[in-house]
Symmetry: C2
Amino acid sequence: MPDHAYPYHATDGRPDRPLAAGLQRAFDRYPAPRPEDNPLFTNFRYTPLEGFDDHNGDGTVSRRDPSKVLYEHGRYYVWYTKRQTATPPVGMGRAREATDTIASADWDLAEVWYATSDDGFRWREQGPAFRRPDRPAVGWRSNCTPDVLKWRGRFYLYYQAFVEPSGLRGDHCPVAVAHADSPDGPWTRSDRDVLPNGPAGSWDQFAIHDPHPLVHDGKVYCYYKSAYDRPDRLTLGLGLAIADDPLGPFEKHSLNPLINSGHETALFPFERGVAALMIRDGNEHYTVQYAPDWVNFEIASIVEFPPTAAGLFVPDAFDDSGEGQGVTWGLCHFVNAGTPTTQHSILARVDCELTREPHDPAMKSTHRLHKPEFYFDQGLSPEQRARAERNARAFQPADAGVLA
Amino acid sequence: MPDHAYPYHATDGRPDRPLAAGLQRAFDRYPAPRPEDNPLFTNFRYTPLEGFDDHNGDGTVSRRDPSKVLYEHGRYYVWYTKRQTATPPVGMGRAREATDTIASADWDLAEVWYATSDDGFRWREQGPAFRRPDRPAVGWRSNCTPDVLKWRGRFYLYYQAFVEPSGLRGDHCPVAVAHADSPDGPWTRSDRDVLPNGPAGSWDQFAIHDPHPLVHDGKVYCYYKSAYDRPDRLTLGLGLAIADDPLGPFEKHSLNPLINSGHETALFPFERGVAALMIRDGNEHYTVQYAPDWVNFEIASIVEFPPTAAGLFVPDAFDDSGEGQGVTWGLCHFVNAGTPTTQHSILARVDCELTREPHDPAMKSTHRLHKPEFYFDQGLSPEQRARAERNARAFQPADAGVLA
């Protein structure tokens, strides 16, 4: 073989020769040169849950935003947003029509409920973890998007605490917390903003969404989402707030926001660092990212169909072991169940293989075919189709280049 | 606002402050901080084609691997692989059962056909561009995966030229070329390997696939795919071969392979460089990449549902203008039409917006919802489901960390 030709068998490491930028990245940028060998690459597989009554999908019951899944007392626990209203929400754009019984958004007039399971597929809804406080306490309007922390034998639920219908000015809220000695309660609400909005003019001035507590370095690491540069150029950021105690005070990291993409990002300890599952929004949507220092994230893989608003089963979420093992399943939500007039959210199960010791090659395929009908379902609008035909018929070749 | 807080309105450029790695990338790595403003980010929309007879989808007719779409004589032209056999292929794994009339792979015993259209949606199949040569000439067994070049008023079709059924030893072939003075022919085959396999032991020793000619710097730039490190660690690479004349000789670039990912990669001139649409395989699947120097590619965006084996309408593919305008539509294929016993490939139309002057925000959405049923269709296998339930029930919490 000539010295200059790239070898046929060469993927164990970087060959000792000049490389084009694209091949250099295969060896520099990812945990392994091939996704099949990359512990942070996975396929996702979805399963409907059993055990949740949604009123035959009439839009009056909605469940969404599952917390991390916790294993306690020999069973699995999950907390989530539940809205149960006589009529479907009027929509964020008609928030002024919201009343004490008519919701604006799907997550308006909601409360934090919980369910338990023996196998992660069949669930039993147990009821509300706690009720909303009376007006005007923080969270009187809606409590939603909970996540759970276990710390020194006690349990903490962080959740978005609204004092107005979503849509009036945006989706403005801080985060509040409740605590209990058992995952079955009783829960004590703090009725205050434990994770407050940022100062006026700062990126997280209006909203602290999707609190996501983990334990690292002997402290509570609570990641969260905020949306900034609204309304013209909606941008999603991931923030980090750190506290010595679950009830605060939390100090926000000086480098916030930490990531340029994502929406309802799910995180889990991995090796010595933390991994993040980025779904929609931003140039780095559909990626799994990894931060060895829990702050500076790099892209570890690009994935298809990541779960929306995943609440993963993270057995070592609070172990602070420095040896994060990864995740294989969790819950997620779909916000578009039902028809346009009965639209509501449902919880679902997602399986994956984001572990240090993967064992199922069927979860690492880079060649999953979807049927043509799925693609055709995503067709042009009638206006786009008409324009495309018009443009095709009107096409005029430009002046030919010198060689054409 | 405190000096240290990141501002609410700040996406026009990189703020003058320390940034976390993830936010630094928003300003450094992509054509724009947000995909909505990124000319190389797009949604894809798919439309069935009219005018192709596929024998009611019985598997005996297959069309795939469309060339770039060419506009000549006031209409659009496309060339493609067509297989028409009395029975469906037996499959690569049973290639020893292939005969002169029984195909192994879907692209075995195929020829290059062409069709024309006025609008890109309705096509008229015109017949074969040329027939296969007699044995033992290069290409006697199958001609497939054509792409077209226009050079100094003459037309060239590059195509995979097989001398054995695919599957016997792999998918081994070189690339041959035919030329004509009109896109309607007649075509003159060269019956030789104009783009030959690499020397023994080199990455492209067995196969030169998916030839993709463009014009740059006064020369023919023909990109191609090869698969190496088989059979254990199949890896796809993109090569580049350059010639002063379309009939060769071609010189392969010393930095080949140029990209670590992709399969049936589609390319088009963009600004002064070249853009590439990466589909499946490799850590950088589902990306659009850009090489200002036509050699060193960087990720420009991450996309959902990119078209398989796209043949784009690239009006300035051969203009060598240094001002590539981009693409808005093309053809692609699906290899899984029909049922398992009548599986065959079909051509389809894909629309996108990868242009320097995008004008349809509906093609730049980062929030496209798919129905829950689509996700549930991608469920666990029965074995995976049983294992997941078993693991869930058998779960034993590890020794609690110091803080749990």
